[in-house]
Symmetry: C2
Subunit: 343 residues, 2 copies
Amino acid sequence: MTMSNTGGRRRPPTIHDVAREAGVSRGTVSRVLNGGHYVSPSAQEAVNAAIRKTGYVVNRHARSLITGRSDSVGFLLTEPQERFFEDPNFNVLLSACTQALAAHDIPLLLMLAGTEDERRRITRYITAGHVDGVLLVSSHSGDPVAEQLREAGVPLVQCGKPMGLGSKVSYVAADDRDGARDMVRHLLSRGRRRIGMVSGPLDTPGGVDRLAGYKEVLTEAGVEIDERLIVSGDYSRASGEAGCARLLAQAPDMDAVFVASDLMAQGALAALRRAGRRVPEDVSVGGFDDSVAATEATPALTTIRQPYDRISSEMVRVLLAQIGGEDPAAVILPTELVKREST
Amino acid sequence: MTMSNTGGRRRPPTIHDVAREAGVSRGTVSRVLNGGHYVSPSAQEAVNAAIRKTGYVVNRHARSLITGRSDSVGFLLTEPQERFFEDPNFNVLLSACTQALAAHDIPLLLMLAGTEDERRRITRYITAGHVDGVLLVSSHSGDPVAEQLREAGVPLVQCGKPMGLGSKVSYVAADDRDGARDMVRHLLSRGRRRIGMVSGPLDTPGGVDRLAGYKEVLTEAGVEIDERLIVSGDYSRASGEAGCARLLAQAPDMDAVFVASDLMAQGALAALRRAGRRVPEDVSVGGFDDSVAATEATPALTTIRQPYDRISSEMVRVLLAQIGGEDPAAVILPTELVKREST
DNA sequence: TTCTCTACTGTGAACGCTCACAGAGCATCA
DNA sequence: TGATGCTCTGTGAGCGTTCACAGTAGAGAA
């Protein structure tokens, strides 16, 4: 009669139906559902059979209403959206986080805070308790959203080291400084001495730390730091191109350049090509990330691999621990030099 | 005393608190929350003031428990994950869908069905009613997940035309055939006659339709269809490179090639470069999608713009309509020729 | 006046689950 | 033997909403 055109979903079985089917009470079914402690093996078995038979799936809304947990997690991106489109790393991160959460049966809610309006709406949504915790991607410093969430006591794990170190916030990051050291040592081992650097934004720890590693190794090796060999970009391809062009203008004798992201390195390759420099014969190029941009570039980029899969799983691990009541934690993961054609 | 280290969230205000504050009953508050019909202006005003004062946010779990709706939507990707990493279009689609839903205050749950196991879990999650509807990205034919969801009566909108046309399922797609026609006409207008094609997979409507458009225009123009000028790829960069190399081997006199995706076109450019052909002097290259891959390519690609932002907003519109009880609908959106350096 | 209709408001009962509690059965120990 | 523990089970209450229903007040018609 009232069969709707959408196919007419029928009322799904409740815990009551399962209890009746198994010949036990709601309480027992609930106990089986939540770990099965204090349940006799026979009841356990009967309930599981009843669940299979009825096709029962727990109603998360009802559960959340009473537990106060939502059993869901937000993935919040406060970067400008274009970066999301452009940077292949976000995809890996997002995908790996989704999968890591799925293993715990926790859905991921994607939240994009582009405009001020969205930012406000999302903050309200989160602080209202509609997610248990937040995975935050925001490399820029002084993110007001992060601060607000922290104040509201929302479990939070940031991807990448946050700028204000005073605040006790969880984060998972690759060892930027050490990665940079490896790359510059590698360039030195190739006989390069006039090594340029296109760093990331200097209001981000990633930008600062990679530059610090670069300077550290050069100083160790007795190579003079030349400020004309240093510029900074914003991780976009275009800024890599512009930055490298500037380096070439300021220091025409540059024989290598360490670029703080693969995407910027792609841009740098374009600038070098336009300037008629051969890579790696005239100028070696080193990237950072080991994203698909590195393998797609011509020539393929030597780069520093950031273990995004491990970063993702650690972010999820730390977040769930924090939701479980543990203290915030910082995790730094090792990077790896990946040699390809550009050096 | 029991202040937890997470900062101690306090109990959020309920509809009851708002009612007390406003001096009205729960029912009145609820009515204000849901459209405000049959509420006096004075009560309306009092309730809104109370909401602002208490910082009340509706508890979605409680609401969902009684309405049966979850007020959330799943974004389901059944493609192999690598495509997700590689193809910039997915980002645009995902991001635009998230934003379009956000405008309706509906969160998006990201669901990646890579393995068989995940597929099963996700299907159960969806059919249990934990989302009101699903935005599905799956260009390949005979997707068992789609079929299962359709049978379960879950509102569903697919991105791209589905293969089995018999089944009544909503979809939003660009006009592939017409886009292909525009591109081939454009190549003809550049004086090209030996026009090759690297199509998409021929078990997808996109693959079939773009090839059909290609053949149609050539036939109209009186140009003979030469099967040696036609190969098919899988939309990946690598397959574009391999496909174009094969075309060059089979038909060395090829003077243009229409490649069914920008990513494949990037590969084709690489193959042409390696073969020593200049683009566009010796061979014109046309892509499809107008993704960032098109502007990043050297030379920048002439391509067919798919209106992904409109596709996204239409997908959301159609899905919400279907959740609201309307019949499934198909939407075909026009494409646009974008001329750049490669032709 | 009385009756009807409309605009508005309050109340109790759900929704499906978890949790605290009480209590039953059984073994162990003084 | 009774007290004490342990394992296991059922029951009622309640989470924060919405919804159906009943009911009130005022305007207009009979």
